[in-house]
Symmetry: C2
Subunit: 248 residues, 2 copies
DNA sequence: AAAATTCTTTGACCCAGATCAAGTGCGCGA
DNA sequence: TCGCGCACTTGATCTGGGTCAAAGAATTTT
């Protein structure tokens, strides 16, 4: 009976179509069951704000479908995106009261949330989950620092190429159909959102995308559907030597 | 006897003149004693590299005295500083093999290190320490994202002012002698290092510092010793609404 | 289907900050 | 005391990306 439960519970918690990154492969059935007890779903429409910076945040959770962004805004309206949340990404700051950023749905969004207090209690009792959370936070820290290099030292063209490589790498739809080095995916962001991520204006984003298209680095079907014939070439354009494990 | 040990061990581990941020106020004597067993000191001269990006890193630790930086470098030499390590700051990535960044001593530096394997083992057994590490990593993540706003959206003058507020807030020497809103501290970085932190050139850094001096926001004694007559004014110049708990 | 709204592209011009190039001043070893 | 080197400053000029403006393309509303 115990054995049966252990087997029937996979790492995917319950009915979520994603693998919760807060849950590790070593987590066992009773931990997953406790997670089931405190979880619930929330849906948002494109453009809706999930939570405002400074607001009390009484949940943590993962993106199930859709895209959300973390942004910071100055009083005069300048905004900087500091994080991009794709399906399976974790949101929330265990041990912290409020949100440090605005979290905004840029597409229709479904999140799988866990009530924060019981989640923290579960974390206290479950070293696996606490460890997994530290892992994830270290990953986010690496990503943030990588992005500091992009923001501080790369040219507009390199910035665009860097963003495209990140989206390409994370996009689920491409795992199958790549005829050797080529990639196809959809841009989940408007030109303005890309600009806010890259520290540019939307006009510059548009111009640089046109330039990459003109130079054959990418091609576009419509405004959002991107084809990358040679991913290695895109990496070069990004000024990025590492391939992030996608090639070779 | 147990009680005596608990009392005699303060949060400061052994003979370190700093409070290790990896150690929390709730840690008890036996945990601290195990830390004592695996700790050792390392000294570096100004300019020396503590560890290269990608190298195997078999320790974690805290800065005791001096300043170190975390930097990323592109193949063509463009450099971005992604972290500034002041006394008590933690270095190291529990659970990770190598260093993701170059760590460089910018002044003479003393670090208190713990051998990584036993530290990780201690972490496994000691939820306090694992929790403290998650706290610290979340702090670093907040700092990195705050810096993304600086890099992506602030002007050169605002960038300089932002850096000065950060250094001023962390500088130990000023806790005492502030005649109401004023601050005195030493710049621990060369103009070039500041430029690498801010995504600017050293010439622009120099010019903007001169401009802030001309406008009475700061004054300099020598090249490095800074006086800020009105910290609130400096915060305005940084485009920063929050005071980070230093005022009011 | 026409109209309104939103997203995107492209052009013309401008400016903050980069680049190139001298200097200045201080500390340190001979 | 000299002079060498390094950190810093300042000037002149250039340019990548911002700003302002206008006009497509999509999508939604009426």
């Amino acid at each position: 009976m115990l054995n049966e439960k252990t087997v029937s519970h996979s790492v995917e918690c319950g009915d979520c179509p994603i693998r919760h990154r807060a849950v590790c492969a070593r987590c066992e059935s009773d931990e997953l069951e406790r997670l089931e007890e405190i979880k619930y779903y929330r849906s948002f429409e494109a453009g809706q704000t999930v939570i405002w910076s400074g607001d009390r945040m009484d949940f943590v959770g993962s993106v199930v479908t859709g895209i959300a962004t973390l942004t910071q805004t100055m009083e005069d309206g300048r905004t900087q995106m500091v994080g991009l949340l794709l399906p399976s990404d974790f949101v929330g700051r265990p041990g912290r009261e409020g949100s440090a950023y605005d979290v905004v749905a840029t597409t229709d969004l479904v999140m799988c949330c866990f009530r924060k207090k019981p989640f923290e209690a579960l974390m206290e009792r479950t070293p696996h989950i606490a460890h997994r959370l530290l892992e994830m936070t270290l990953d986010e820290l690496d990503a943030a620092r990588e992005w500091m290099l992009v923001l501080g030292r790369k040219t507009a063209r390199e910035k665009i190429a860097s963003l495209l490589t990140i989206i390409a790498r994370r996009d689920a739809s491409l795992k199958l159909q790549t005829p050797k080095g080529s990639m196809v995916f959809d841009l989940p962001l408007t030109r303005e959102a890309m600009a806010d991520y890259l520290g540019l204006t939307l006009e510059t984003v548009s111009r640089q995308i046109s330039a990459l298209k003109r130079d054959g680095v990418i091609s576009l079907q419509g405004k959002r559907h991107v084809t990358v014939p040679d991913f290695g070439r895109l990496l070069e354009e990004a000024g990025d030597d590492s391939d992030g494990g996608m090639l070779a």
